[in-house]
């Protein structure tokens, strides 16, 4: 574990350097925004500098950090629960043909149910507590993770499974040496998708159900017709998501999947 962390640290500068392309493309988007804002009413679309100044103000006053921390806690709690439960149940379902076939329609039902529907249910069950956004995030993140884990197990090479049986691998070794390394290549993309979902859903849940967090702050800017403030919060949330994905998940994925790139 410590080894993985050290490799993560060592690989970080080269990885960040490789991010120039992404940064350039983001700056291009910013330029497009600035261009559009020249033609539109500032109430409809303020220019990026105003928005960034607003965000800077929110951050230096400290208000933004507190709200982001609350939102992040809720999103990551729901995401982590989904990650644990969804990965485990998905892998178990993948082991059995019957379970996979039975689980498929359930997951379709879950995917088809709009998050807003879950949110209303959660508000009835959990009220204004943290439980409402966390539950909504959990339910919204569950299907992609579950399906990723199930697909991963189902696609494991039967010849390798047979080999593991012939060499009498005990259950734990089978999990860590045979199933997990293969399933991870299905799980990582699913986790990244789910992480994005978690941030979107948590803000929506907060907007409607709680008195604090980024969503609640957005409700305030909406009622004050504060477009610059709204965009500032959106930039903050997207920035936090990008940071978690590209500074944490992506480098870990590269390290774990190193065997795949060496050929």
């Amino acid at each position: 574990m410590i080894g993985v962390f050290r490799q993560w640290l060592a690989g970080l500068p080269a990885y960040l350097w490789g991010g120039w392309g992404a940064i350039a493309s983001l700056l291009l988007l910013l330029a497009g925004w600035e261009f559009a804002s020249q033609w539109l009413d500032p109430l409809a679309l303020p220019d990026p500098r105003t928005v960034l100044a607003t965000l800077h103000g929110l951050l230096t006053e400290g208000e933004a950090w507190a709200e982001l921390a609350i939102t992040g806690r809720r999103a990551l709690t729901g995401f982590a629960l989904s990650l644990g439960v969804g990965s485990a149940l998905g892998m178990l379902a993948g082991l059995s043909m019957t379970a996979s076939m039975m689980a498929r329609p359930w997951v379709t039902v879950l995917v088809g149910t709009p998050p807003i529907g879950w949110l209303v249910l959660a508000m009835l069950w959990f009220g204004a507590s943290d439980g409402t956004p966390v539950f909504t995030v959990f339910v919204a993140c569950f299907p992609p993770i579950f399906i990723g884990a199930m697909q991963g197990v189902r696609t494991l090479d039967g010849q390798l499974r047979e080999m593991a049986q012939a060499f009498a691998l005990p259950p734990l070794q089978r999990l860590f040496d045979l199933y997990l390394p293969h399933v991870l290549s299905y799980l990582f993309p699913a986790w990244i998708t789910a992480l994005g979902v978690s941030w979107k859903v948590v803000v929506m849940a907060e907007l409607l159900a709680t008195a604090d967090g980024v969503g609640a702050a957005l409700a305030v800017t909406r009622s004050q017709l504060d477009t610059a403030g709204t965009l500032a919060w959106i930039v903050a949330v997207v920035g936090a998501l990008l940071a978690v994905e590209y500074l944490l998940l992506e480098p870990v994925k590269r390290e774990v999947e190193r065997w795949r790139t060496l050929a």
């Binding site: 010849q159 060499f167 070794q173 045979l178 060496l262």
Partner: protein
């Protein structure tokens, strides 16, 4: 079947049969493999050889008959290397040792020893399977089986996809290992020459349903056999009416049939 003594473990099959659904693939297989001997099962594709080996390895549940495996440790090598792509060659070789609970340092040391006998250096051992050539991968697969010091080695067409040079090398290594300590080997192959080169006994299977048609003994040491001897014996086997029928070949040419006995083969 004779009583199995404590001192001489053996593999005994009595009346083994198997069916996939309504299709019978094996019927009435009797086979005896004593310790330290190499026996080959040859037969055409689809005669149930692989099913039989899977039954012996415990990869398939036994339906009919009895298998008594008196050997304490067995290991397998398959036609494909079947290495774990996310583990280094060294960890792949040590896989079976890890399954037995051998601590990390000890299993790596044993795996390294085995690998060195196979001409795998530290660079190769640190690499992932897909970085190795096909020949290296086969060596790793054989090392993974042999490092377990099995007293029964099961080979499932293990050498059939390899070029002649690599085949010859792996034969040498197998025989060298077998000379170092008694190890029974049950190999299945569709290559008669391979069987004749390596085995003390060749069991010829016929298809539909898979059954033992006949078997031959070669009492000399496999390592001592010359190429000429191997060719002559293969030709002798190919002249045998039962063998030809098993492989679906036409009846032998009546002109000078080679006497198998003259080149050291005994029909049992």
């Amino acid at each position: 079947m004779a009583h199995i003594g404590v001192t001489a473990p053996a593999l005994e099959l009595a009346g083994v049969g198997h069916a996939y659904g309504a299709r019978t693939v094996l019927s009435g297989i009797d086979l005896h493999l004593p310790a330290g001997r190499i026996h080959a099962l040859v037969g055409p594709s689809g005669c149930g050889k692989t099913t039989l080996l899977h039954l012996v390895a415990g990869l398939l549940p036994l339906q009919d008959g009895a298998i008594r495996n008196g050997f304490a440790r067995s290991a397998c090598m398959f036609q494909q290397p079947r290495l774990l792509p996310w583990k280094s060659a060294l960890d792949n070789i040590a896989l079976g040792l890890k399954a037995r609970g051998v601590p990390r340092a000890a299993r790596h040391a044993q795996a390294r020893d085995q690998a060195r006998r196979f001409g795998l250096d530290d660079t190769a051992l640190g690499q992932y399977p897909q970085q190795l050539s096909g020949g290296m991968q086969s060596r790793v697969a054989l090392a993974r089986a042999l490092v377990l010091a099995p007293d029964l080695l099961l080979l499932d067409e293990a050498f059939s996809a390899l070029d002649v040079g690599l085949k010859a090398e792996l034969y040498r290594q197998l025989l060298a290992e077998q000379a170092r300590r008694p190890m029974a080997v049950l190999m299945i192959t569709h290559d008669l020459m391979e069987a004749v080169r390596l085995a003390h006994a060749v069991w010829v299977m016929a298809p539909e349903p898979g059954r033992i048609a006949t078997h031959f003994r070669f009492d000399d040491a496999p390592a001592q056999r010359s190429d000429a001897q191997v060719y002559a014996r293969t030709a002798g086997l190919l002249d045998d009416a039962t063998v030809r029928a098993s492989f679906g070949l036409d009846a032998p040419a009546p002109a000078a049939p080679l006497a198998l006995a003259a080149v050291g083969g005994l029909r049992c």
